[in-house]
Symmetry: C2
Subunit: 400 residues, 2 copies
Amino acid sequence: MSFHLTKNSTLFTPSNYNLLSITLNSTSKYTNSTINRITKRKLNTSNLLFKNGNTFNPNKISKSFFSASTVHKDINNNNGPKVKPLEKIDHTILELVRLNNNFNPNIHKVVPFYLDTVMLGVIPENVFQQLKKYNKTFSKNEKPFSIFAHKVTFSEYVNTFEKRGKAINDLLTHWRDNNTFSCLKGWRDELYPVFDGNHEIAFNIERSGIALFGLRAFGCHINGYVEDPETHKLKMWIAQRSFNKQTFPGKLDNIVAGGVSFPYSPTETAIKECLEEASMPQEISKQVVPCGAVTYISVEKRGISSDSQYVFDLKLPPSFKPKPNDNEVEGFHLMEFDEIIERLKKNEFKSNSGIVIIDFMIRHGILTHSMEVNYLDILSNIHRPIPFPGPNFIKMKNKK
Amino acid sequence: MSFHLTKNSTLFTPSNYNLLSITLNSTSKYTNSTINRITKRKLNTSNLLFKNGNTFNPNKISKSFFSASTVHKDINNNNGPKVKPLEKIDHTILELVRLNNNFNPNIHKVVPFYLDTVMLGVIPENVFQQLKKYNKTFSKNEKPFSIFAHKVTFSEYVNTFEKRGKAINDLLTHWRDNNTFSCLKGWRDELYPVFDGNHEIAFNIERSGIALFGLRAFGCHINGYVEDPETHKLKMWIAQRSFNKQTFPGKLDNIVAGGVSFPYSPTETAIKECLEEASMPQEISKQVVPCGAVTYISVEKRGISSDSQYVFDLKLPPSFKPKPNDNEVEGFHLMEFDEIIERLKKNEFKSNSGIVIIDFMIRHGILTHSMEVNYLDILSNIHRPIPFPGPNFIKMKNKK
């Protein structure tokens, strides 16, 4: 059986990305490696970028468009953050969304990571090679992992919460000490829980290593906005990340965002981070409204981020001015949405924060179907199904 | 290569529906028919129901929970619509969402319908059999369709907008006159455009036949809500559909909804339908705010609905009372969200309208992650990618 397909067909247009995944899958099935084949079959939730794309190549995008030397620490002034694009670029909103949701099982080779029969994440090929090397340093009965060509699990004796956590921690510590993966240089001493199929915590893992296994991570982002009392026009408070930050230095960001770690719920995390990141008193922050979530699978230098970001809207009084409370933020700027869209298209935002703002603009009628031909594709791309188990916040709350 | 999978594994939990699709795909590949195999490969955008499900079987759901004899025409009274559930049911929100988005390439046999190299829709197996029968009644050079085991296209000579529309119209008229498909009894004399890969109209098709080919349809739904000026609590105006309506008689519905047909944009359609369905003056209806869209692929008695419903929020003045303007609506009821959730779970809503209200509740912080363990899965299920081409409203607007 074969399919009649040509490269220039509209199967390659944005609205057909999922179809393309299957198409490439069926044609390349017998030519690619085992690893890749497993990936394609198992992780076919892809909203993918174009392999043979005639419109867009993510590898051609420069990594950063900020020149640190041109930035002034103009906290809360009216001139906006001083950033100098290194080259002219003009992304479409759909391209930005796909840059952030760029995991493509037809391009990125991964091996699934199982707990018993439950897939918890996926291991990029380079990490898989290092894992095999590490596992070989143990004698037969002491190997912490069972490694097959098409999957990785814990060894049979690694069968408790504590033992799994220790096996993972020993591995990451070894890699950190040997400078195997640069993401572990940002070791945070912050544990993220990994959930099994019953929403119970299977083990904890150091936050900086989570993307090495493509495990699920959960975060929250707050859209801090202000409504003009007369015109009802909305503006949004935008943070600029510190240039000293380990991840995405200098990029524009939501007013507040943070990882959700046990035992905090997304809402508790949101309120906590409002104080820590923007000096926001609780009488304001407790008015955050949960308005959905964005989900995506993103391939980055540090690995694969299978992320769910809970989204909150927070209407701020016009008199409130956020202030940095730690060294994570250079400053805050109140921006009109025209400016935000312009800066988004220049890729000046941390990518997932940009996506949260795109979601906000769609929900509030700022970015509409009459402005944006890819409206429906954008919505699908920011709500990608994540095929790994997650927490049950209701059960967690009752346990506390 | 084989995968270690068991029926009771958490691969079958809600968060893994896409994975399940692939799993079943790989194990059942050599046992199913060609038709089914094509479907699985080509349409793997599934957010599916469980084939071997241990939790939920859509076939067990009764078709209607309304007993017409118990309904009073109590338009705009305060007691809510009188509907008597025929049996006790209590769906979860995720089940409702999946009932509406229930196309599953592992269960539903379809053949793709192409225009040149562009897939426009999918034809259910029973329709495919009738199409073959119809095509055989023509002599070799006059057959309107080219039919293969794995795809259907127009014949080479059917190569213009007019010829394609005629071929489809002749076919549907033949089926209507022969009572082949009951959906055609509801012939509307309303044409829907079908778009090619360049967003141009490839042909028009009678609205009542669109699901026979799984072609894309576009609609708009308006959430008409009222905010209590003191408590800021929201209520929503809910319509009850006429018992004489061809589709979903007696079901609860959004205040206003309608199909988007050329040359109207979603916003123009929304405003037009507000007058037609709820006697709403333009000074109110023109304040509709576009707030996104829900997309899904739904298998129904009439065929396969590959739908995109543009969603609008409309804050109504507390003094405004919608009134039926035609015979489509029994009456309108202002409901608290507690009641709406209760009635949703009893499956009293037209399914896609229920989904639009679920989306509203998520966007407005009424249904939150701290109430709903399947929050993220719900969001992915209501934003399913639709792998067929659609219109470009911006280009259409400029052409008018």
